[in-house]
Symmetry: C2
Subunit: 180 residues, 2 copies
């Protein structure tokens, strides 16, 4: 059963894909839904709050990945766990990511998001203790590569499982970490 | 000899670093320079034009890299050439990149820039003819990784030559391409 909030989010995402977040107004969302602007405003007083309703669960989904990874004993095991779990999340949200990433409004909200500290923690776990400069560069290349490649429209022809598999293999090779 | 335009750009970059592009006004630039807003406006009627004065030469610097790379005969030789040249550019502008990248205004201007077609061409040259899905993922991981790692404030302690060397080695390993 979709709530009124879900219906606003669904209409907003359609319009974001067509016009970008900045090019979409609450009025356009109301028109798409066939309701008044006041009805949309009642659920979400600002467009930013709609974007947060989309990105909050994704950002918060990262927390258990960090907790579970920290339980593994070696950096290699942590890397395999984090990469597997993070790539699942990235690919699961790939259509959304292609729409939302690089959007100015989204970029600002993500960078100020409380869960950014979890991302820093995931990067630290991937890097391991006392890293060399080479290892720090490797990890940041992988982090940047996953964010960009996961949201890349030119890879949209690849099935989810194919994309996941290649992102995982490439990340492990970049990090010089064995698959098992 | 610095022109009036150069002085505006220098003052603007200082303020962009402190307040972001969106948080900087022509009035703030004028105040920093100790001139009137009209004097700044005379050189650059909008803030966007100041940003373009910074990014235009960087974006246009990519064109000769694509032309020269296309003269090499193998994909491996093209990759080594493009990576070497592109990493030089990225690291040369790393302080600027840390300030400007992810800024909403800059993101919008870069994505609409005429030289974006050169970036697409560089990606195609790195990929090579008839690429497998694995190769396409590898190249986009490297492209994303270089953009993100090159602009990453947490690597600012690494000297330019160290960063260049690691970015180059990591990129080649990711692409399964031999250094020589």
């Amino acid at each position: 059963m979709r709530t009124a909030r879900d219906r606003v989010v669904a209409a907003a995402l359609e319009l974001f894909a067509e016009h970008g977040v900045s090019g979409t107004s609450l009025q356009m969302i109301a028109d798409r839904m066939g309701v008044t602007k006041a009805a949309v405003y009642h659920q979400f007083p600002t467009k930013e709050e709609i974007v947060l309703a989309v990105i909050d669960p994704i950002m918060e989904g990262l927390q258990p990945i960090a907790t579970e990874a920290a339980r593994r004993r070696t950096t290699a095991a942590r890397r395999r766990y984090i990469l597997g779990a993070a790539i699942d999340e990235i690919v699961r949200h790939r259509r959304l990511a292609a729409v939302l990433s690089f959007d100015p409004v989204v970029t600002r909200l993500v960078r100020r998001h409380p869960a950014m500290s979890t991302i820093t923690r995931l990067v630290d776990l991937l890097t391991g203790p006392d890293p060399s400069p080479a290892t720090r560069v490797d990890v940041l290349m992988v982090a940047g590569g996953l964010v960009m490649a996961g949201a890349e429209p030119s890879l949209s022809d690849l099935p989810d499982e194919t994309l996941k598999n290649h992102l995982y293999q490439t990340s492990l090779r970049t990090l010089r970490t064995k698959p098992i």
